[in-house]
Symmetry: C2
Subunit: 216 residues, 2 copies
DNA sequence: GGGGTTAACATTGTCGACAATCTACCCATT
DNA sequence: AATGGGTAGATTGTCGACAATGTTAACCCC
């Protein structure tokens, strides 16, 4: 049982705005390279330009927006090199998260939970968009389960970038069982506390993703 | 020879402000837990509150500042748990950077450069503050040399937090040769492309730091 | 037609002012 | 002495207006 009395964390307006913008970028509402025009956005969000700009600065810090002085902020354009860099950064975070779980955490429970998430891929495994969504949930859960606030924060940015990639290539995505199986294997390795294997599987998993995304 | 003609990146005001604030926090000008009062800061920096707030939002995104609604922004207070989390995150970044260098980079040159940095510790190795400064340069160089913009960006935040820790405990720092030797060993391992050993050394190095910082 | 100048326009960058909120303190009440 | 209410002060949150800058297109000259 959890207490009803807990510190009520009221989110600041810039933080809410940043969240909304992240979602919009991740879901392709703003295409890579697109400019985020302040006046428009402020009107659409129902706030003035001040808080909006503060929220946008957060995304700039994350690297999701790129500033050009006196021109404005633009959604990052993911070149193949950028995709590789992002996945490599993500790999390092996720491997660190997994190691934390295996070393200090309840790897058995986490492994089973991850397995359950992976199983949700099975019925929809020929629908690339649905698989992609569960894929992301899987990795978010993994990092969250590590209990590390820093890993989680850094990972969040990378998840948005991953979403951008997936979204950009959604139509050309091929449907296969591989992704389902890969996730199942990772979950099993964590459940059984197989450190080396978890590390390898995560590495390969990221390599696969890079391959898929930069192929054509 | 490098060309004189390169894209001239004019930094935006919020970005400059963020840099200044980071330096100030890292050097203990703002103590952990201290409030950053907007009106004061704006006056001292010679800007209005608008750009200042935008800069501060960047640090909030990085986790260096903690917001309390309608109260203001406060410098993060590094509890032992926070220190552990930060060092673990830093370890994962630096190990990833080192692996990049060993796999794709010119590890020999980088190793020699790192060695040169470590050697600068030798003459001042009984001055904890001087050693700390070179220590940080060593690790910054390592990550920068990986050529990964994402690793570098994430690392920058962690370096500030490291500085906070070092600064807070500067007076109680003991002077020994260990840090000098540890860095030399890491540089050598990278120069000789000893993957396993580099990984181990970096792990131990971070463990040592955590031990030193959370001991008392 | 190419290149340069000018002017209108759109957008960002900055600022000062006002509103909303929280804190601290005092004082009356029980 | 503890509780509750009220008030003053300080600080943040928000907004609209203006200045600065860059872009575009038309225009002119050569």
């Amino acid at each position: 049982m959890t207490s009803y009395i807990e510190p009520l964390a009221q989110e600041s307006t810039p933080s809410i705005i940043a969240d909304k913008l992240r979602k919009a970028i991740g879901h392709g509402e703003f295409k890579p390279g697109a400019q985020l025009v302040e006046a428009d956005l402020a009107r659409k969000l129902g706030v003035s330009r001040g808080p909006l700009r503060e929220g946008m600065q957060r995304l700039t810090q994350e690297g999701l927006l790129v500033p050009i002085r006196n021109r404005g902020l633009f959604v990052i354009d993911m070149t193949p090199a950028e995709i590789r860099d992002m996945y490599y950064a993500r790999e390092s975070i996720e491997r660190a998260a997994a190691m934390l779980i295996l070393r200090d955490g309840d790897f058995e429970t986490v492994g089973l939970d991850l397995h359950a998430i992976a199983e949700r891929m099975k019925p929809v495994r020929h629908d690339p968009a649905a698989v992609g969504e569960i894929d992301i949930q899987f990795h978010e859960f993994l990092v969250r389960a590590s209990g590390s606030p820093r890993l989680a924060r850094m990972h969040r940015t990378q998840i948005i970038e991953t979403r951008m990639c997936i979204h950009a290539l959604e139509s050309t995505y091929t449907a296969d069982d591989n992704r389902y199986l890969e996730h199942r294997r990772i979950a099993a390795a964590i459940r059984d506390c197989e450190i080396e294997r978890t590390d390898e599987l995560l590495s390969e998993h990221m390599e696969d993703a890079i391959e898929r995304l930069t192929r054509k």
